[in-house]
């Protein structure tokens, strides 16, 4: 990497960090499946699962894809479309499940 110096984008974590992140990821996955099977959690199943998977998502993106240490511009290139996609998804869910409509019949799609 001759240009590693002047591009200043390589502050990659060590293998040890990678392993620790992997451990956390595994634990989170076990938790996810656990939450799914243990009836106690069922009232909060959806939020719990969303939080857990968001955590996994963030860990991989931050550490394995180095966004935490890399240029913030890359975070923008990834984050902006991601937000857009999420916004579109929420808007479509609203439109399809009729929360935005007053009439029952209009909600069906």
């Amino acid at each position: 990497m001759p240009e590693a110096g002047h591009t200043g984008e390589h502050v990659h974590p060590t293998a040890e960090v990678y392993l620790r992140v992997a451990a956390v990821l595994v634990i989170l996955t076990v938790l996810e499946v656990g939450v799914f099977y243990v009836p106690v959690f069922h009232p909060v199943l959806v939020p719990a699962l969303l939080v857990l998977s968001a955590a996994k998502f963030t860990l991989v993106v931050m550490f394995y894809m180095h966004l935490k240490a890399d240029s913030r511009f890359f975070s923008f290139l990834f984050g902006a479309p991601l937000l857009l996609a999420v916004a579109v998804m929420i808007a479509l869910l609203f439109l399809f499940f009729g929360a935005l409509t007053l009439r029952g019949t209009a909600g069906a799609g």
């Binding site: 394995y64 240029s71 991601l82 579109v88």
Partner: protein
């Protein structure tokens, strides 16, 4: 892609290929975003079964998920090895990543065949349509990733991949992790939230 571009001076001080690749990943967010949105808006609208809870095999898919997570670990280890010039481990980890990718694909093949046996095909109901197209698109991404990793691995075996190509490996990694991240979402949205 050439390695030459990387040595050029760039206005933002960022590698051009890496930047292009992040833009590509951004674009992929909308691809999978649309697929997942469709899955969600059609959730619970199938008029005939089988329905998700009849058929999804959580223990099996948990193992696949674990497999893909581990492949991500292998991938970063491969990158770290290549970056420090340790091509022996670099090769090992690269092939290990590809292997885990293949295992995942194998799992998907088994899963799909089982579903078909249980009466869920792509045309059975809306669940079948959205499920197979979403997970199938993801699987196709994994397959491309495996091909890519095997190409790099082969070049490493030929001695054509060294620390000078770390950026190539890093970009491969970006792709691979992104595919993993998508699976994290799919696993939750499709399998766990039924």
């Amino acid at each position: 892609m050439t390695h030459a571009a990387a040595t050029h001076h760039t206005s933002m001080g960022l590698d051009s290929r890496k930047m292009a690749f992040w833009a590509f990943i951004g674009s992929e967010c909308l691809l999978f975003g649309s697929l997942i949105s469709t899955y969600l808006v059609y959730k619970g609208r199938s008029v005939v079964g089988p329905y998700p809870h009849d058929i999804l095999n959580i223990p099996f898919t948990s193992v696949s998920t674990f497999d893909l997570l581990m492949s991500s670990l292998m991938m970063v280890l491969a990158l770290a090895a290549v970056q420090r010039g340790d091509m022996k481990w670099g090769k090992i980890w690269l092939f290990a990543t590809a292997l885990l990718g293949l295992v995942f694909l194998g799992g998907q093949v088994i899963e799909f065949t089982e579903f078909v046996h249980k009466g869920l095909t792509i045309s059975t109901n809306l669940f079948g349509c959205t499920f197979f197209v979403l997970t199938g698109t993801h699987g196709a991404h994994v397959a491309v990733g495996v091909l890519w990793l095997l190409t790099l691995g082969t070049r490493a075996l030929q001695g054509k991949l060294g620390p000078a190509n770390a950026m190539t490996v890093e970009i491969t990694g970006l792709y691979w992790h992104f595919v993993d991240v998508v699976w994290i979402v799919i696993f939750t949205v499709v399998y766990l939230i039924q």
